[in-house]
């Protein structure tokens, strides 16, 4: 309950935000699309953290999942295909006061935007990046994506995708200055909530890969994992995600993994026979670029004019 503290005292907040305050128009995603659940989870975290809507910015590229900002009533930037990361980093660079979320898909992030993805991980700016990984291009109607399964039939590979899928998490883990990688599934809202909450609380660039159902174009990709929980591996540790029993009890397949162990994180995320979910890696000691890029944001006009005059002196004749 809002404002109610553990000692039963009550803080009366000047502004209190309910879920409604983060909701915008009715999402136009298909019925059964995993994106709906991700959206409500993010909205709940905003509500729980009482994030100021005007200080929150959702940035996306192009694709089904990139419609995400339109369904939040915060500030949003629905930009170009593959280019969410440079924009998000630019927003954060001189406005570290803003809470930045990035919504991107497997095509947007891992294909057309792959170069920016690598560098966004390396910049390690304080933001949450959510990869909506449904193994397919859906908005453009069923083309193979870099994460499509080998043999997966699509309109560009009707006889089946010829190559094994790119693994976004191992890729992210391999990038220098990576600081947070987690995986979750959209059909377990409890686990997803704890994952995104931890990502938001992490200081640095939090990369969350969500195995996301597309009921229209890649239903087969996660169908089995939904009905057979043994195909999901719960990754747990004292330093990992603390997910309540209701979100974990169906999983018998469990693996203890210390999220400070980068080498082991690669091994965990590299498994192809199960979907590992949980915190793969976290390191809050890595340099954060927005701490570098935002130096000087409070300079006064006087500082600026003095600096300019000083420079003009250098060129004076």
């Amino acid at each position: 309950m809002f404002g109610l503290k553990q000692d039963w005292s009550l803080d009366v907040l000047p502004r209190y935000f309910t879920l409604d305050d983060y909701e915008s128009s009715v999402p136009r995603w298909c019925a059964g699309c995993g994106d709906h659940g991700i959206l409500t989870t993010v909205q709940r975290i905003c509500r729980d953290k009482q994030l100021l809507p005007e200080k929150t910015v959702c940035v996306s590229g192009i694709g089904c999942s990139s419609r995400f900002p339109h369904y939040m009533s915060t500030y949003g930037f629905h930009g170009l295909h593959g280019r969410a990361f440079p924009v998000a980093c630019g927003i954060k660079s001189r406005r570290p006061d803003l809470d930045v979320w990035v919504a991107t898909g497997d095509g947007d992030c891992c294909s057309i935007g792959a170069g920016h993805w690598v560098h966004a991980v390396r910049y390690n700016m304080d933001m949450v990046a959510i990869l909506f990984d449904n193994n397919v291009y859906a908005l453009t109607k069923k083309q193979s994506s870099p994460t499509s399964q080998i043999g997966q039939s699509t309109n560009t590979h009707p006889k089946g995708a010829p190559l094994p899928p790119l693994n976004p998490s191992t890729t992210t883990l391999s990038i220098t200055n990576c600081s947070f990688v987690a995986q979750t599934v959209d059909w377990n809202p409890v686990h997803m909530h704890e994952t995104l909450k931890a990502a938001h609380e992490h200081k640095g660039f939090s990369f969350v890969r969500i195995f996301q159902r597309c009921p229209v174009f890649s239903e087969e990709c996660f169908a089995e994992a939904q009905t057979d929980p043994d195909l999901v591996q719960l990754v747990e540790h004292d330093n990992g995600l603390q997910v309540s029993e209701s979100g974990t009890r169906i999983y018998k397949n469990r693996r203890t993994h210390d999220p400070s162990d980068l080498v082991q994180a690669m091994a965990v995320s590299n498994q192809t026979d199960v979907l590992p979910i949980g915190l793969l890696y976290q390191n809050e000691t890595m340099p954060i670029y927005n701490e570098y890029s935002s130096v000087g944001i409070n300079s006064t006009p006087e500082d600026k004019i003095n600096a300019l005059n000083h420079q003009l002196d250098r060129f004076a004749i």
Binding site: S24, S25, L52, P53, E54, K55, V57, C58, V59, P69, H70, M72, S73, T74, Y75, G76, F77, H78, G79, L80, R83, F85, P86, V87, A88, C89, G90, I91, K92, S93, R94, R95, D97, L98, G115, H116, V118, H119, Y292, S293, S294, V295, G296, I297, N298, S299, P301, D303, K304, I305, N306, A307, L308, N309, H310, Q311, L312, F315, A316, I317
Partner: protein, 636 residues
Amino acid sequence: MSKATTKNGTAQTKPQTIDEHIVEIVCDSGEGAQKAGTLFATISAKMGNGIWTVEIIPAEIKPPARSREGASGNRIRVGSKEMTNAGDEANLVVALNEQVLYGRLSQDAYGPETTILLESVWATDPDANIRDAYTAALADFSARGLNVIELPIHEACSELMTDPRLGKNIFVLGILCYIYQRDTALAKQEIANIFAKKGEKVISTNHALLDAGVEFAIKHIPFTYTIPNMDVTDDQVVMNGNVAVALGVMASGMDMVSMYPITPATSASHYLAGVFDQAGGFVHQAEDEIAAIGFALGASYAGKTACTITSGPGMALKTEFIGLAVMSEIPIVIVNVQRGGPSTGLPTKVEQGDLLNAMYAATGDAPKIIMAPATIEESFYSIITARQLAEAFRTPVIVLTDANLATGQTLYKRPVTKEDWLAPPIDQSDWHAGTPAYAWNEETGISPRPIPGQKGGEYVLTGLAHTPESHVAYNPQANQVGCDMRSRKIAALEQTFTPPKVHGDESGDLLIVGWGSTLGAIEEAVDRARAKGHKVSSVHLRYLSPMEVGLEEIFAKFKKVMTVEINYSDPMGSVAHPRPSQLAMMLRAHLMQEVDFWSIVPGQPLGPNQIVGVIEDKLGTTKPSKKKNEKAGAGK
């Protein structure tokens, strides 16, 4: 050997007073000619002369020694009045080998008026091939009518340096200081400044080299010159156009430049990277050209209007983001320091080939503001204006400079800094309830912009067609209205313009129309042609979108109107439908009238004499087909 060969111990002659001279120092890359040239220019400027300097840059970092393509150095035009361009053929050249002269001869940098002071060490080189090449070149230069004076510079420097190659540049500066009667005390002061970080020993060695150069020149050079001062009382600054752009960024109050390395734009960002923190600013080196503008747009969207500085290939890559900035009305300043194109083209060379790219390179209709500073001074002020226009009109502003402005150096009146130039602080007050994100004024297309942090202003910026509320809209009316409003802004800005000034009489036989860095050369050419009795004037355009106003009236008073540009066109009359130069194409479409054109793409700035030739051809006072300019115009 030359006509002016001298013997050691030539008696000092009385200095000849001249209005101006064009001096070049050329050598292999790495021999320090840039430094010597910069020092000579600075000393001359401090003594009260007007200057224009141009770097002579090979495209490679370390081209082979003694190669024609490797010519590296500096051209300094120094005179008793303001210098606005690099001029025509050089008067005096100091060359440290004969091969680099060929590089410059192929660029028409020298003529019969040129005296060349040539390092003679190659005549006795142990390598017979080098000796032969040197001898052959001397004969060739003589046949071309060049006036060559051989000088044993290497030998003289050997007395002071174990590796004389490293000291020749300052020795040459000493020679020039003698010839042009420069103040050696001032020269020593400038040497001390430029070598300040290298310590006392390096400074004293270079002072000795300077003195030795002066002594050497007294013995070997039979002529000296004095160039009277300009009458300038204002404080002056001297810098190149890229530094002027960088200082303009600081002066505009923008505090972020997001860039990716590209010639010839990068030096602007280099300079800023060293000093921007003093103004609280920050240079972001992005992972690529696309990210560079994306990052800048992110910052601009969040209220910190940013700048990205690039060149042709970078513009090509940024095109999609520029379209987004137009569509979603994000202010941003994009500086294109143009180089030769298409593709990788001529990275270090001059061209004005990106005007149509700036104008049209986007899908759909993407109107934006395009400015073209014509001088180094304007390069500074244009950025301040660009930031203000970008924010006032909520649109990208493209500033077109080029390699000529970027690397040329000249003097201009020191700007008197004003706080008004700076961007205001980010507005974080509550947004007016009920005002949509694009509350377009129907007459001007202008709308106030919500900034993240403004309560009640939350909107989702989108590159999709949208309503005033920034809601995605696919209906025919919404798209028409959005396009109308974005276009209206250009028309609204145009309303604020006054017609450009005509240089020369307001009527006549021929009007030359130019834009960008050709201003100095065109106006000097017009002055020379007018002195010869030709009824020619010129007008120079600083805004290309919206186009300058009043052109119909100005053009109507001339029998012929012709653009002069450094970009490609089929010469007029060469084919059935010659492809016009870029400004001509825009003016024809804009004014719906005939506009003639002359343009070439040599990768070089235009010289005033070259343009005089073009003017005379156009006026029919010379035989057009035999002229060098026309041949060049044919692109052969």
